[in-house]
Symmetry: C2
Subunit: 164 residues, 2 copies
DNA sequence: CAAACTGTTCAATCCTTATTGAACACGCCG
DNA sequence: CGGCGTGTTCAATAAGGATTGAACAGTTTG
């Protein structure tokens, strides 16, 4: 029975894939991000396909997706023909930012719909509006958080003297 | 060309479904929640199947899912044979709470994996750990927010004199 | 007790999205 | 120019979940 020993690296990459999937994204995107985090230096698409056993198409598509979401950046040193990608310092910051934006969008549409309820449905309008405001406030809150992180990245790092 | 006039109610319910789907949940769960928010009072499974044109199975399953997630509560007044559900005051509070819990779970697994990296991969370990800590801090932040909301629900309501 | 009613479970179906293989486009090199 | 290396696009396939219909279990009613 094949020992199926999984190294920390393999384990991390696998979990990154599952986690990303749990959050509604493509599994492979998470795996690529995990791979880049472990490696710590730029890696080419070819290296990804090799390391993760995925198709060229997936590597290309998902790497660009990560770049779009802001978790990863494309680098291309002179004299290097292949595209390479590397993980940003705080790849998950982008995820949180996107979350806030999504919530704000939800708040906007809900607010608009709420305003459409006629006086005869004042109760429903009230409840819908309240619902929308909740999302807006949460979006504001998340924005504060990401802004704080952006200006003081150490907040997100492990700190020895927890200043709680 | 059928006028396809959509009332605010229909529109709201539809958008709730799409929004929920966008967040990775079942569309019907969102629709049910939307329906209950608009109605403002308990509604039975039969009423849901009728109003939303969904199967009995979906109504049952998704209503219980919402209950489990804490967006909705089951009520059964005496002399009432059917189960009924009603939306809680701040249904989306549960969503945010769940988000925080999920992030904390992510943080835990990542931290554990990070600890498994040997000294020879100190760099990778550092990066993985940092990644985990980011999620943990974010989870803490979200917990603070939900706690604040729980003790002072008006925060989530529309306020006329924005105390920003 | 039998019939009617209600909620749950579960296997089958449907739908959406992720993933892939193959064709394509572009640039470089000989 | 003609071939090679590389990244992207796109139609087709695969995979994963949501949704449903039908069977089931439990309760109430007459």
């Amino acid at each position: 029975m094949s020992p199926r020993m999984t190294s920390p690296t393999e384990n991390f990459i696998e979990q990154m894939g599952l986690m990303t999937q749990a959050e509604g994204g493509p599994r492979i995107a998470g795996q690529i991000l995990g791979y880049l985090i472990v490696e710590g230096e730029p890696r080419t698409l070819a290296q990804m396909t090799e390391a993760l056993k995925i198709s060229k198409a997936s590597a290309s598509t998902n790497a660009r997706l990560l770049e779009l979401k802001g978790s990863v950046r494309r680098v291309s040193p002179m004299g290097q023909r292949q595209d390479a990608y590397e993980a940003l310092d705080f790849p998950n910051l982008a995820v949180i930012r996107a979350l806030g934006e999504r919530f704000r969008a939800h708040a906007d549409t809900m607010t608009e719909i709420g305003a459409g309820f006629p006086e005869s449905h004042a109760g429903a309008r009230e409840r819908v509006t309240r619902f929308a405001e909740f999302y807006r406030k949460t979006a504001d809150f998340i924005d504060d958080w990401t802004a704080k992180l952006a200006e003081d990245p150490d907040l997100a790092a492990t700190d020895r003297d927890d200043p709680r």
